[in-house]
Subunit: 381 residues, 4 copies
Amino acid sequence: PEVSPSVEARVLVINTGGTIGMTYQDNVLRPEANAFVKALRKLPILHDEQYAEQTGLYDFCPQEQTLVLPLSKQNKRVVYTVLEYSPLLDSSNMTTDDWAKIGKDVERHYEKYDGFVILHGTDTMAYTASALSFMCEHLGKPIVLTGSQVPIFELRNDGRDNLLGALLIAGQFVIPEVCLYFHNKLYRGNRVTKVDSGSFNAFCSPNLPPLANAEVDIKINWDTVWRANSTMKFQVHTEMNRKVGLLRLFPGITTETVKAFLQPPMEGIVLETYGSGNAPNNRADLLEELRKATERGVIMVNCTQCLRGTVTVSYATGQALSDVGLIAGRDMTPEAALSKLSHVLAMRDLNTEDKRKMLSKNLRGEMIADFEGAKLSLRDS
Amino acid sequence: PEVSPSVEARVLVINTGGTIGMTYQDNVLRPEANAFVKALRKLPILHDEQYAEQTGLYDFCPQEQTLVLPLSKQNKRVVYTVLEYSPLLDSSNMTTDDWAKIGKDVERHYEKYDGFVILHGTDTMAYTASALSFMCEHLGKPIVLTGSQVPIFELRNDGRDNLLGALLIAGQFVIPEVCLYFHNKLYRGNRVTKVDSGSFNAFCSPNLPPLANAEVDIKINWDTVWRANSTMKFQVHTEMNRKVGLLRLFPGITTETVKAFLQPPMEGIVLETYGSGNAPNNRADLLEELRKATERGVIMVNCTQCLRGTVTVSYATGQALSDVGLIAGRDMTPEAALSKLSHVLAMRDLNTEDKRKMLSKNLRGEMIADFEGAKLSLRDS
Amino acid sequence: PEVSPSVEARVLVINTGGTIGMTYQDNVLRPEANAFVKALRKLPILHDEQYAEQTGLYDFCPQEQTLVLPLSKQNKRVVYTVLEYSPLLDSSNMTTDDWAKIGKDVERHYEKYDGFVILHGTDTMAYTASALSFMCEHLGKPIVLTGSQVPIFELRNDGRDNLLGALLIAGQFVIPEVCLYFHNKLYRGNRVTKVDSGSFNAFCSPNLPPLANAEVDIKINWDTVWRANSTMKFQVHTEMNRKVGLLRLFPGITTETVKAFLQPPMEGIVLETYGSGNAPNNRADLLEELRKATERGVIMVNCTQCLRGTVTVSYATGQALSDVGLIAGRDMTPEAALSKLSHVLAMRDLNTEDKRKMLSKNLRGEMIADFEGAKLSLRDS
Amino acid sequence: PEVSPSVEARVLVINTGGTIGMTYQDNVLRPEANAFVKALRKLPILHDEQYAEQTGLYDFCPQEQTLVLPLSKQNKRVVYTVLEYSPLLDSSNMTTDDWAKIGKDVERHYEKYDGFVILHGTDTMAYTASALSFMCEHLGKPIVLTGSQVPIFELRNDGRDNLLGALLIAGQFVIPEVCLYFHNKLYRGNRVTKVDSGSFNAFCSPNLPPLANAEVDIKINWDTVWRANSTMKFQVHTEMNRKVGLLRLFPGITTETVKAFLQPPMEGIVLETYGSGNAPNNRADLLEELRKATERGVIMVNCTQCLRGTVTVSYATGQALSDVGLIAGRDMTPEAALSKLSHVLAMRDLNTEDKRKMLSKNLRGEMIADFEGAKLSLRDS
C-alpha cells in the first residue's frame, strides 16, 4: 500500500553507550561499535523502511544514521538520527568531560531537532541527567535520557520499550526539561536515582511525582513540568569543577577520615547526613574540621542519606551543621547536589558568598522551593 | 473487678534515647532524662497499674522502672523493665562504644529476660541494628530495636504503636535475631535502611521480606526467620575496628580523593559502587590506588549504591574491582557491610586472608547465601 | 501546672457503632452501649480531664458526652461531643434510613460545630460515605467518617489513631466534603472502597489521590479538595429510592438471571461490566432485556468491575451497552454509583430524561469531569 | 552465519481473540481473522525465519501456523504453533462453551506439546483462567493465559512482551498449573482479578504472591507453585452448570431483589458480602430467603467484596450467614468461586451434601487451606 507523507518530528539520538547496545563477549557484557543502528533497522517497531524509501527520506538525511518510527497514535512520524560516540562508553566510565561533550552536541544541533534522546548506561544515568540539567540554561526542548537493564539484542529486554517511549516523548511533547524515561515513566532528570539493579523498574524520583506516565495512554502531568519563565537564548555551560566529593556520615567515623577527605585540593563536598539532615553535635573535633573547611572556603551541602525526605533544622543535631557553615540541600538527591555543586563552583565570576547563595536557590526544579513548603500549611483555617 | 495473675513474659527495655522520648526545648527537639517511664505509666495502653498492684508486681521489681502491659491477645502479660541510659542520646551521636554498651547490657541481663527491646533514634538505628547483629553470637532470644518519628509526648505519634508492637513480639515469640520493628513490620536488623525522614513508614528491608507483619493479627514469616543451627552459648563480641570508612563512587571522582580516603590508618572500606557492583575500568590510576590498598592489607567490600540489588560480576566494569582485590558484598546494605567489616577487622586471631574469607560468608543472615541464588534457577526443566 | 484556655474547635462525633467500639461476647464481636465515651475518658491521648475541669468545660456541655483533646500542634483544643446511636449498629446492618438519620443529625447540629466525625463500621463505610456526599448539598464544613479494624478496647488497635486523626482534621481544616479518614489518609468519601479485610490499611481511593496525608505532618492536597462554587445554604436530602440494585456481569450469565433481576419494581441498576465498560455484544437476548428495561424507564449506569479505570466507549462491546440506553459511569466506584442512583431516582420533580442527565453529571466530585479528560491530551504540541 | 539446531520446546498457542490481535475499524477496536500469525512473522523478536528454514522446521509443521523464537537465555528454541479460533472473540463475548472448547483443545494436543499459551482478551481472562483450572484435573504441564491492553499492531504495546514471556515460561518451566502471565508476572490463574483497565499492570493476585517474576531474570517462586501430588492421567471436565449467579450485597438491598435473584432455576450463587464475610443479621426476611434457598438445594458460597482478605466467622453478622447455610469461600476471588461452583454443580454423581463438601475443599490452590492458617500462629512460644 502507498504510504502518504505525515507530519514529521525530528529527534537526535546521541548514543553514548550503555547496556542497551551491549553484547556478550567472553561472558562479559561489552559495548559494540556500529552495531546499534543496524540492529534497529531490522526491528519494524523502531523503523519503517517502506516509509523512508517512499517519502525519499534518505535524500536529505544520511541513510546509515537515520531511521523513522511507524505512525504514532498522535498521527506523527518521528524521524530520528543516531549520533554514535566512539568509543562507546560503559556508563561507569563516564566522566565530566563526557557530560560536556553531550552538552556541546545538543547545543550544536539544537535548532535542527525538536527533541533529543541520550542513550546511556543506567549506572550513572542519574548523575549525567543531573549534570546536564545544570549545564543547560533556558532549555526550550526536551532532552530525554534513557537506556536499559537488558541489551536490546537479547530476547526479553526493556531497551525497545524505553527507546520507543523516549523517542515519542522527545518528538511530540513540549517538555523543556532534561528528563529520564524508564519503564513507562518520565522523570525530571535531576530528581532521579537508580534504586534497583535487578528490575526493569530501575529508577525512582523519590521526592517528586513523575512528569508523565506512559501506560495505555501517555499522560503528561503538566502541573509538574518545569517552566523556565524565560525567553532567553538556550546556552550550555560545560565547565564543571571536579574538586568535589561525596562524604557519607556513619557512626564511629573518625575525625581523621573527615580531615583526610576535606584536605586540599577539595573545594566542595556533599555531606550525606542522617534523617532530616543530622550529624553528631557532641563531636567537637569533627565539627571543628567542618568549620575549618568552611573557613578555607570549602562549600558543603547537607543532604540526607534517606531515599525520601528533606533536610530541615528541627533537631539539635541538625542545628550543629548549620552553625559550622553547611548549606541545607533540602530534598535534593546526592546526584543532583553533587553536580549542582560542581556546576556552581566552576562559575568564574562569582565569589564564595555568591556561590553559596546560588546553591541555596532552586535552579532547575532540583529541589523544593520555599513557597511550596509554605503552601502546604498556609491554607488551614 | 479482680485481676487474676497471668502467664507473664519478661522484657528488658534499654532506652538509649531518640525521638520517641524527646521534648521540644527552645523549638528544638531534645531528649529529657527520667521522663519516659513516668509518661508511660500514665498511658493505660502501655501500663496496667491495677494488675501491677493486685499481683504484687512491685514486690520483686523496682517500681520506678517496671511496667506491665494489659493482657495480650495471646493471653499473656508482658512485664517490662526500663533501663534508661544517662545521658540519653540523640542517635546521631551514637558511637561504637555505645553499641558495645548495649551489647554488654543485653549479655548481663540475658538470662533474666525472654526478650529485649532497644529504644533508639531512627537516624542511626539501622547501623546499630547491624552492629548488634554481628556482636551477638549464638543469640537465642529476640532483640528488637524500635523508636519513632514523632515523640510519644505529642498528640499524634508513632511511638506508642512501635513500642507496643516491639514489646509484644520480644515477649511472646521466639525469633532469635536482632530485629527492627517499625510501622507494623518486623525486619531483620542487618537488612534495614532508613528510607524516609518524613513518613511513619521510615524503614525498609530492600532485599529481604519482613520477618513479621503486625496488622489485624501478628503474622510471623517463619520461613524467613534466621536459625543459627547452634546450641552454643550466647556471647557478645564488642570490639569494633573504627579504622573503616564508606566511600561512594561518582563520575569524576579524582584519584586524589580516593588516595586521600584510603591513606593510613584506614584498614577497611565499603566502596559504594554503581549498579551490580561496577566502577570505572578505564581509570588505571584509580584502580592502581585500590590495588595498592589491597596490597597494604586494606580490606575493601563492594556494595551497590542502589537501594535494591546484588553485586555480581557480569560487566567488564565489575570485573575490574574484583581484579584489584575487592570482596563482593552481594546484597548487603552499606550499614551492614560497614559494621560487619568493623566487626571482622577487630578479630585478633585472624590473619588478613581469614578476615577476607569471613567477610565473604553469610554470618547472620545479612546477605544472600550462595545456595539461595542456586535455588532460584535449578529447578527448571 | 495551670492550663490556660486555648482556641477551641467544636466537633460533633456521631457514634453509629462499628468495630471501633465493639467487645467480645461469646467469642463474637458485638457493639456495647454506653461504653465508648467511658473508655475514651480514660485515654489521655483522647481526653484531657485537667483542661476540661480547669476551664469549666462541663459548665456548658454535658459532662457525660463531652471530651477534649490535648493541645494540638496547631495550638488548638478540639472539644468533641459524642452522640451515640441506640442501638449501636454493626455496619452490615446499616440501611438507607440510618443514612437519613445521620444526615438529619448533621443538619440539626450544623451551626453549632466546626466539623463532624461519624464513627461507623468499616464494612459499609464506603456506601455510607457515598450516600452522605449526595445527601449533603452546599456543604461548607468537613464530615469525616472513620472507624477501625480492631476495637479500641484491644491492646493493639487502629481505633485510637483513626479517631484522633479524624478529630484533628474535622476540627482544624476547612475541607467542605464528606470524607473518610483511615490509616493516616483522608479520602473523598464517594471515591473510596474497602479493599482489605485484614489490614489496617483497609481502604483505597482507586481513581483519586488522597485529600490529605497525615504522617509526621498533616499535609492537605488543596488542589484536590472539592469546591462547591456556591454560597447557597447547606441542606440535606434524605430521600433515597431503594428500588435499585447492583448486577455484576460474568461469562455465562443467563438471560433469565438478568430478566429476573430487572423485573419490576426495580427502577435503577448499576451494571458492573468488564474492563472499560464492556458487555457481550453477541447476546441479542440479553441486550434486548436491557433495552426493554430502558424502555420501561429503568435507569442503568455502567460501571467497571475493575478496581481502577474508567468506562469509555472504545470497544465494539462497549458500544452495545450505550446503544441499549446505559449511562457511562466513568470512574465511579459501584458504591458511589449506587447511592447516586438512589439519590437521583428519589427526586420527585425530575422526569426520566432529567434524571438521566443528572446521573451523567459530576455532582460531588464522585467522577472525572469531561474537561479533566480533555486537559490530559490538549497541551501537546 | 549458520544456525545450528538447538534443543527445542514445543508450545501450542490457542488464539481465542482479544485486544492483543485487534485492529481499529470505524474507530472501534475489533478482532481481525488470520492477521495475527502474519504480523508475528514480521517481528524478529517473536520469530526467527532463518532458523526455521535452515533447520527444515516447516518440513514437519504447517508453515502458516508455526513460528520459532530466537535462542533463549536458557539455550532453547521455543517452537510454537498457533491455533486460531474462528470467529475470534472479544473476551466479553466468551461463554462457558468457549471455555469447554479451549479445554478440549488442550486435551487433544496435550501429548504433543510441552506447554500451552492461551491468547485471550483481558476483560474476562480471570474468569477463563479460573474455569480452566477446575476443568483441568491432574495437569502436568503449564497452561499460560495472556493477552494485552494495547494491540500488538500498535506502536507502543504490551502484547509483544506478554506473548514472549508466556511462551518462554510455557516452553521452559515445569509449572503444572493454569497460570496467567501479565506485565512481567506469572500468577496462579484462579487467584487473579483484573484491577486496572488503563494500565499495563492490569491484573493482581490479591491473596497469593506471584508464581514468578520475569524482570532482568525469570525467577520462579517454587515454594508457591502448586503440586497436585498425583500421577494420575490428565483429564478435562468441560461440563459447567450455568444456573449460577453472583449477588453483591449493599445496604438497602430489598428482600424482593434477593428473592427474585434466587428464584428457580437458580442452583447456586456466590454472595459477595461485606468485610470478613458479613451480611445483615437484623434482616429476618432477607435471611429467611437465603434459608429457603438452602432448603431448596441452592448452594451459596460466601465471598468478600474486598479485594484482599478472607471470609471468617468472628462477627455476629458473619455467623448469621453460616447459620442459613452459606459455605465460607475463604479467600477465593469471586471469579474463582463462581467457576468452582459452576464446575461442582455440574458433577452428576454427587449429591448436594457431597457438592457442599467439595466446595469447602481446596481443589486447585484456589483458596487458603486450613493448615496454612494454622501454621501462622502455631509456632509462637
